[in-house]
């Protein structure tokens, strides 16, 4: 994974979602509420690296990840995606804590809920006696990372925005867990599925789409998101692929101007869009071209991405067999 790219961008509050906020919105947040002060960055001082072994990678906070002397047996994962990856690698039984938001796969719900993923409760985490903590790489977790380091607990802060980021993170977690082989299997499986979907849709006409994740303000999936990649894999073209932000806020008029053939929305989202007279300005809404995505698989940069791409392909190209 391109570590310098991570470091260039300081993660923000809504980073708990895979579609992370763009810089502009974060500025707006700072303007809006004093509570955002909570997000003030922690000092990024040098931390001791306590895990021993070969260098694996550099995590999102610039800490060197090293292979463990012994595979960790008590893992805390405070990030929905890494939790899912840990399960996919077959190490779910070694999880002793997860964040409140980690609900996939189903068995993740059986892992003790340690609360927020952003700005976690350090005491709760330490009380679980972890020998590895996987954090979401956001500014307010930086302080948590420092304190866990100070408590002698190995920490890996990971951030997954794109498909490639998922591959790197999965390999890193595999190495940290001492099971690189199974991690490689997971990566290969996802890659193969994506390739199959891409091949199946390759020669089909590509409808233009926009995925709407919030109605007011209008938030869509931009070029910075893995979902943008999944849409391309599934044989569609995201009209907001040109925007670098993973989830930009746009004006409704701009959506009208870009005039996608289809909108992608959650089931509740479609109901709201079709009910709102203002959205009648969007041709896709007028023509009842609002496609409902399977929110249990589309939306996480996790091992389900292959399925997600296949599901999107099924929506955009009914009847194909990826």
């Amino acid at each position: 994974m391109a570590a310098p790219a991570w470091r260039r961008r300081r993660p923000g509050v809504a980073d708990i979602l895979p579609r992370a906020m763009d810089v502009r919105l974060r500025l707006q947040l700072v303007y809006a509420l004093p509570l955002i002060i909570i997000l003030a960055c922690a000092p990024n001082d040098a931390r001791g690296v306590r895990a021993h072994g070969a260098v694996i990678d550099v995590d999102a906070f610039g800490d060197t990840l090293r292979g463990p002397a012994q595979p960790p047996q008590r893992i805390v994962s405070l990030n929905p995606t890494t939790t899912e990856i840990v399960f996919a690698i077959g190490a779910g039984a070694r999880l002793v804590g997860r964040s409140h938001w980690d609900s996939f796969p189903d068995s993740a719900r059986l892992v003790p809920d340690l609360g927020p993923a952003l700005g976690p409760n350090i005491e709760t985490v330490i009380a679980a006696h972890p020998d590895l903590v996987l954090l979401y790489a956001s500014a307010d977790d930086e302080r948590a990372a420092t304190r866990l380091h100070d408590a002698g607990i190995p920490v890996a802060a990971l951030r997954i925005d794109r498909i490639e980021g998922f591959r790197t993170a999965t390999r890193d977690i595999g190495a940290l867990l001492g099971d690189s082989a199974r991690a490689a299997n997971v990566v290969d499986s996802v890659t193969r599925t994506l390739d199959r979907v891409r091949a199946a849709t390759h020669d089909l006409p590509r409808p233009t789409v926009a995925m709407v994740t919030w109605q007011h303000p209008v938030i869509v999936i931009g070029g910075g998101s893995f979902i943008n990649e999944l849409i391309e894999v599934a044989g569609g073209h995201n009209v907001y692929a040109d925007l670098a932000s993973p989830s930009p806020t746009v004006s409704l008029e701009d959506l009208v101007r870009r005039d996608p053939d289809f909108l992608l929305a959650s089931p509740k989202g479609r109901v709201n869009l079709e009910r709102d007279p203002r959205w009648q300005a969007v041709r896709a809404v007028r023509e009842h071209h609002v496609l409902v995505i399977d929110t249990t698989i589309v939306g996480r940069p996790s091992p389900v991405m292959g399925q997600a791409a296949a599901s999107l392909a099924g929506l955009l190209h009914p009847g194909i067999q990826p």
Binding site: A32, L33, L35, P116, T249, V256, R257, D276, A281
Partner: protein, 325 residues
């Protein structure tokens, strides 16, 4: 407003020009002729919807919003005898924000958010009044101000608690609301906003002479036969109610109610009636202009209206602050 009539006509023309520009301009380029035919309901259905459903109600809401905030701010500055008073002073913003955040967080349909905000705002003002009047010397403006500040602080704390464990998408929606926007304007919303702004504004204008008297102080008001407590209380309540309606419709749009009355005074208004009416006009122009900037400055994104009015309003405010010294 009789002193310099010309300047007010100029302001009205500026408002009209901004409104016309707002209907004509946007992300989608529409030729002026097409805009006109779309206004009449003819032409491409998408264009008609853009002009009649997206732009027109939006401009109307910006006018109502600016007028309401201007009149509310002008009245409160007069009755509180404080040039730094503003419409959100009595806890309106905090209460409305709490109401709106709760509505967004529980996933209420978008139409219910303004209603929740309105209820929150009215409750906050009621609490501020109750707290002030349960205190010895509760009729005192300063006690009321403190009560409003405290209610606002409490509301902020409540918002922090509510958002602490919020779903991030909902949080983003809640924060967007708090930054103010007329992007979601509908005719239904404009209808009841117009009711509060016009009816409330008419009452404030009618009470303007009483506000003039109140600016002399409570003893002087009493010497002119005015029950200062009663007169000021109803101005507080009506101004806050108008502010609450604007907040419910468009979220928090700062600095308009604070800055606009000063501009009206600089333009020659001195009697409260002229200041209130002038503030309605200038407030409308300021918000329509700010919204035009908000939706055209940084395409394809839309800036939060409250951020634009703050960027415009703060320099004005600082100049005013220098004058006060």
């Amino acid at each position: 407003m009789s002193r310099r009539r010309g300047i007010w006509w100029a302001a009205a023309i500026v408002l009209a020009a901004l409104a016309v520009a707002s209907i004509g301009l946007g992300s989608v380029h529409i030729a002026p002729a097409a805009v006109l035919s779309a206004l009449a309901g003819a032409g491409d259905p998408g264009t008609v919807t853009i002009v009649r459903v997206l732009r027109l109600p939006r401009v109307a809401m910006a006018i109502l919003l600016g007028a309401g905030l201007g009149m509310s701010g002008a009245s409160l500055q007069g009755v509180m005898r404080n040039p730094l008073a503003e419409p959100y002073l009595l806890g309106v913003s905090g209460g409305a924000a709490v109401g709106a955040v709760i509505a967004v967080l529980v996933g209420a349909p978008a139409v219910l958010v303004p209603i929740a905000a309105f209820i929150g705002a009215v409750l906050a003002v009621a609490v501020a009044f109750f707290v002030a009047h349960a205190t010895p010397g509760g009729g005192d403006v300063r006690v009321l101000l403190m009560a409003g500040v405290i209610v606002g602080a409490f509301a902020n704390a409540a918002i922090m608690l509510l958002l602490a464990n919020a779903d991030p998408a909902a949080m983003r929606g809640a924060l967007w609301w708090m930054m103010g926007s007329v992007a979601a304007a509908t005719w239904a919303q404009n209808g009841w906003l117009a009711f509060y702004v016009l009816a409330g504004g008419a009452l404030l204008v009618a009470w303007a002479r009483e506000i003039d008297i109140l600016t002399l102080g409570e003893d002087a008001a009493a010497s002119l036969g005015l029950d200062a407590d009663r007169a000021s209380r109803r101005v507080y309540l009506m101004a806050s109610l108008v502010a609450a309606a604007t907040v419910a419709a468009a979220g928090l749009v700062g600095f308009v109610g604070l800055v606009v009355p000063h501009i009206a005074r600089r333009m020659g208004a001195s009697a409260s009636r002229a200041v209130i009416l002038g503030s309605a006009l200038i407030g409308a122009a300021l918000v329509v202009g700010s919204d035009l900037i908000a939706r055209t400055a940084l395409p394809p994104a839309e800036l939060p209206l409250g951020a634009v009015t703050a960027v415009i309003g703060v320099p004005f405010f600082l100049i005013q602050l220098r004058r006060l010294r």
